[in-house]
């Protein structure tokens, strides 16, 4: 949404804002709970260079420093602008924006809209701004299936209108991929329905390389049990660092100290280390009944719990959870993807006419994202992508024949066809496969098994059954999601197989240590058919 706002602001006369879901209701931003990192220096001395230092430290040597610097330097501008747009940042009594110290930050830097409302408030603010700009046309329920390439440049897109089942062609001098990442391809995830890796598949099929694809951030304390309804599974984090919730193994013992993290004074364990520790405990048979560990607030007085959780206490009670009396079970959960489309500081990919913004961009966060960097990234990269895309020179003109194959595929599949397997079932298998074999703890044996199975599933795409009837055809939409998710999944599995070390969010049981010789990013090279052709070492 910010890219559309920015493109219009930079003079683009016509901006099309397409969403697979309803505009501004899907994606990742709306799911965010807190926090938003920006060196505003409202609580203490701060400087964007210190934010950058923390970001690079968290990225374990792999951050694209140009992108990371852009992110940290411009985050305060965007965050203050959101304040002027009435997002409702929580403020101290004196009117200063409240900032807390989230894990991995050297000082209080993370602002929020209180009580798990940051993402919905940011999304609502952007929807409001978008709706005020006449140049932006919003279109919901359009699934972009292919980018159209002519003379080596992206000149538009082909989309499936999921409501009507009809193909739609879009001519555009510049296209920005702002689809978010791929966390939906994991069984345990905190993703919305449309985070199946579409943007990566589109970029790769159009000839744009990807970077750091093996780095999937597993949020360490995703909610596991008891079943929690109507709340995002990543909700525990802010309460853990407000109150010091304790992580305990299945027998009720502390375990983080054994992984080199001392939480006696404060909750400071970085996400990659916490996820690794929990996964190892579970693998060693010391987990909780549902395959996670316990998060306990039982040592906190009830009054303090109520003050900190506010209205959330009632929502938890509706789910039968009383934190004063019992712990909950938590587990790592796919939450964010560090890798993505290779871009320069203008957010331009190497393919003319193709830009990226937000989580779809690769490189800024290296091997592990610092908490609070995702929403600034959506805003900062969105602003740049929109501005540079709007002012770039058109590289090539539209050619209908370049879109013909993609249009024909939609028409053909929309007729329905017999088949021996359902895309919905394959998507379910894909999520299990990625979790089991390409998850928080990886091994060559599992990765080879996953790569072989992914290729079988790609072959199965040719005989997936599609129900007849174009209007709101769920199995037709599933086919395109499966195609994209398989491409994205393969890039993750290949990167994970090739990185023979452990670094940040990528942990190999067979190569448990970081190898300084591998402190560089892998790039996934595209080929004409869109499958992964190979990887080339790129500079970080």
């Amino acid at each position: 949404m910010y890219a559309a706002i920015s493109a219009a602001r930079a003079g683009a006369g016509q901006v099309l804002l397409l969403d697979k879901s309803l505009v501004g209701r899907g994606g990742a931003t709306i799911m965010a709970q807190m926090t938003v990192a920006a060196a505003l220096a409202e609580e203490s001395d701060d400087d964007w260079r210190w934010h950058l230092a923390d970001t690079l430290e968290a990225g374990r040597g792999l951050c694209d420093e140009t992108l990371a610097a852009v992110l940290c330097e411009e985050a305060p501008i965007r965050i203050r602008e959101m304040g002027e747009w009435q997002v409702g940042w929580a403020r101290r009594d004196g009117g200063r924006i409240a900032q807390v110290t989230a894990p991995g930050h050297s000082r209080p830097r993370c602002c929020y809209v209180d009580f798990l409302n940051t993402g919905p408030a940011v999304a609502a603010t952007l929807r409001r701004q978008v709706s005020r700009i006449d140049a932006i046309r919003r279109l919901s329920n359009l699934t972009v299936t292919d980018l159209v390439v002519n003379d080596g440049a992206v000149v538009g897109a082909v989309a499936l209108d999921t409501a009507s089942g009809e193909p739609v062609t879009i001519q555009a001098p510049a296209t920005i991929i702002a689809t978010g990442g791929l966390t939906r391809i994991y069984r345990r995830n905190s993703a919305s329905a449309n985070m199946g890796g579409d943007g990566y598949a589109l970029a790769l099929m159009a000839g744009a390389p990807l970077v750091d694809m093996e780095f999937v951030q597993f949020f360490p304390i995703g909610h596991l049990a008891p079943r929690l309804v109507g709340m995002d599974p990543i909700m525990w984090d802010p309460f853990r660092y407000k109150l010091g919730g304790r992580l305990l193994d299945g027998a009720g013992r502390e375990f983080l100290t054994r992984y080199g993290s001392d939480e006696t004074d404060a909750y400071t364990t970085p996400r990659d280390i916490a996820s690794y520790a929990i996964t190892k405990e579970v693998a060693a048979g010391r987990g909780s009944p549902h395959g996670g560990v316990y998060l306990s607030f039982e040592h906190i007085p009830a009054g303090e719990l109520r003050a900190a959780f506010g209205p959330v206490i009632e929502r938890l009670a509706k789910n039968g959870i009383d934190l004063a009396r019992e712990p909950v079970e938590v587990s790592p959960i796919a939450h964010y993807h560090m890798g993505g489309i290779v871009v320069d500081e203008r957010m331009a990919s190497p393919v003319p006419g193709l830009y990226a913004a937000g989580e779809a961009v690769g490189g800024a966060n290296g091997a592990n994202r610092l908490s609070g960097n995702a929403i600034p990234e959506a805003l900062v990269f969105g602003e740049r992508a929109g501005r540079f895309a709007a002012t770039a020179n058109r590289q090539a003109s539209w050619r209908a024949s370049a879109a013909a194959e993609a249009v024909g595929r939609i028409r053909e599949l929309a007729e329905g066809r017999a088949g021996d397997v359902a895309a919905a079932a394959l998507l379910d298998q894909l999520r299990a496969l990625m979790w089991d074999d390409v998850g928080p703890l990886r091994h060559a044996v599992g990765l080879e098994r996953a790569l072989a199975r992914l290729r079988e599933m790609q072959a199965a795409l040719g005989h997936v059954a599609i129900a007849p009837g174009r209007v709101a055809n769920a199995s037709l939409a599933d086919w395109f999601e499966l195609r994209a998710s398989l491409i994205a999944a393969e890039t993750v599995a290949e990167g994970a197989f090739l990185r023979r070390e452990s670094r940040g969010a990528h942990q190999r049981e067979d190569f448990p240590d970081a190898d300084p010789a591998q402190a560089a990013s892998w790039r996934t090279a595209p080929n004409v058919s869109g499958a992964v052709a190979g990887l080339m070492a790129g500079s970080s």
């Binding site: 309803l22 899907g26 799911m31 919003r138 409501a163 739609v168 008891p226 309804v229 109507g230």
Partner: protein
């Protein structure tokens, strides 16, 4: 294992009203949306359901009628002791099964 039963309105706009019954494994705490996802994976992939955030109570896309009452499928708990009747939103144009036209008019192409 206990099962839950769903009677789901099927068909596209203009089709004669028809209900399909699905038996779904019941798990404590599971939601109607969980059950619909299970049906799509294990019984009938053609079942059309609209949803986005899945569980976070932020997108409001999975609004349907359960036993005649308009609710979010993602926050409505499954029950095991009787069949639940699932219909598309009564005040919206039905597209297929439980999917209705909920796009704001200006966000539609067709």
């Amino acid at each position: 294992m206990k099962t839950a039963r769903l009677n789901v309105r099927r068909g596209a706009e203009g089709d004669a009203p028809r209900y399909d019954e699905f038996a779904v494994p019941f798990e404590e705490g599971a939601t109607v949306l969980d059950a619909l996802a299970w049906v799509r994976t294990h019984r009938d992939p053609s079942l059309a359901v609209r949803y986005s955030c899945i569980n976070a109570n932020v997108c409001k896309e999975c609004t349907i009628a359960v036993d005649g009452k308009v609710v979010y499928a993602c926050t409505t708990r499954l029950v095991a002791d009787r069949a639940m009747k699932l219909d598309p939103l009564p005040a919206k144009r039905q597209l297929r099964d439980l999917v209705t036209e909920t796009r704001p008019p200006r966000e539609r192409l067709t």
